[in-house]
Symmetry: C2
Subunit: 312 residues, 2 copies
């Protein structure tokens, strides 16, 4: 079992990938004392038009500072839709010796292109992991499942991502069996928490042989957010599967818990409705962020989306 904490990467959806250096230092040092294997620092991206903070680009000075302080393996993630194989030398070449795993966030419809990108990353000397979205829809896309034979020998980990936060433990077990019918690649699971199923889905994944799982401190992450690292560690510690220094865990949680009062990540009625009905949380996050709409307005808008999707 390996644990990956992606608080800075996924939490960046709330802060536009800006974080105070003091907060990050406290987080990194606390993580050094905790049974977490990988820290995901952020995205690595080509220049974008709109403003995005430093954890969206992960410049070298930032990675070097974290590399010096952290005793953990470090990862960054690429948005597959924005990066091509030919970008790899320029984007990743300088990261040699700083980063231990490159993850790519992939829409299953782009899996063919993602495989080319992964091959380029591997040629550049980095282990590579696929974080493939929309696991709840895979059973309806056999052409995607057929591609999974290409994971063997290429991917260090193949992650199933519950993008909508709507899967249940039995869906996790079924999807693992579906993926296992095509590939022996080590599996990962990245859950969202719209229906407060992050913990039970993740524990179910581990029971069914998944080797690596993601979490974030306080669940900080896009929309309803993720499985909380402190919840996973507390549950695994009570089962005597890991040993937790609760002073360090408290130190990791405290500054993020403080920020959460302002940014208010976590689930709520609109995110529950989007999760339960497999609707994207991007729109909900935008509506919630405007602070202009009542819950009823947002939930009605979601229901219109749901009906349109059903009608088409």
């Amino acid at each position: 079992m390996k644990l990956l904490d992606c608080t800075l990467r996924d939490g960046g959806y709330y802060t536009n990938w800006d974080f105070d250096q003091e907060l990050v230092d406290q987080y990194i040092l606390a993580m050094n004392d905790l049974p977490v294997d990988y820290i995901e620092v952020g995205y690595r991206s080509k220049p974008m038009k709109n403003y995005l903070g430093e954890y969206f680009y992960c410049p070298l000075y930032l990675l070097r500072r974290i590399r010096e302080k952290s005793t953990k393996k470090l990862t960054i993630i690429l948005n597959e839709k924005d990066v091509r194989a030919e970008d790899v030398p320029g984007l990743l070449g300088p990261l040699d010796g700083l980063i231990d795993l490159i993850r790519i966030a992939v829409d299953p419809k782009n899996i063919g292109r993602a495989i080319q990108l992964a091959e380029a990353i591997k040629s550049a000397g980095f282990p590579v992991a696929f974080n493939v979205m929309y696991m709840s829809s895979w059973k309806d896309t056999p052409e995607f499942i057929e591609e999974l034979v290409n994971m063997d020998g290429l991917a260090t980990y193949f992650y199933m991502v519950d993008s909508y936060g709507g899967v249940y433990p039995k869906d996790v077990a079924e999807t693992i069996a579906l993926v296992r019918s095509k590939t022996h690649v080590p599996l990962g699971f990245h859950g969202h928490n719209n229906l407060e199923l992050g913990l039970i889905n993740t524990l179910t994944a581990l029971e069914h042989g998944v080797e690596i799982v993601d979490a974030t401190i306080t669940g900080m992450g896009r929309g309803a957010g993720n499985l909380k690292t402190e919840l996973l560690l507390t549950a695994l510690s009570a089962q005597e599967k890991v040993s937790v220094n609760y002073n360090s865990l408290s130190k990791a949680v405290e500054p993020f818990a403080k920020m959460q009062k302002d940014y208010e990540w976590g689930t709520n009625l609109p995110y529950m409705v989007s999760g339960a009905n497999s609707l994207p949380q991007k729109d909900v996050m935008s509506w919630m962020g405007k602070n202009r709409y009542g819950l009823d307005t947002i939930v009605n808008a979601l229901h219109n989306q749901k009906n349109n999707i059903s009608d088409n």
Copy 2:
């Protein structure tokens, strides 16, 4: 399947059982439009020394006002430790025609005395339900399980209460089987949310034949709180097991979500640690409420408690 919303009763742990009349009216009217069968209004109690608000006593004027506005069945709950069979005529006699079910909160070690109380309540003309605490410890107390034969013909519902918020779905299924080995009484489940397992435990209970389950709006309730009514309704609605008016559900949620920003109920690291290790949340709630202790101090105090419990 029956649903019971006990927001006012369980939420009172945060407001000392005081609620604005306007808030309660909005809640009661919204509930009229929702697929909830019972509303629990509060405790009914003999005078206590310290100050407790009106939803801890449920005086007649309060119950009459709610009875006029609500189209639902109404319940109140008694703390078994504070009420004896001889108190029943004075305490419950006036509620004839106002209240549809009397629940009693019972420590399993007092089950014998609770049965006498339940008989008195039944003689006074009220259906009675047992809410029995500490379900995680029942498998170690066969003398309690033997008493369950007395439920048949006496109790309208026998509730299993996950007092510490530490049970998992497989524990729910096992406890149901244990109880079912002794009684045919209709079962209920009341979950807490320390480990964010309220929803999955409740759905598991329903799948295993439990007939009635509890929830509270926004999860408002002692310590880490309860399964959220809006989460349960959204999940059941997506499974097409209930039909939900989301405008009404939003109206029920909105005022409590506003209060939650001040009172901050819900799970956090100390409640996770108490749940995962079966420690009472009463102490954690008191320490959190003082706003004087860091998370690390509270978590260390919990660990000392845990070690003392293990040593004895």
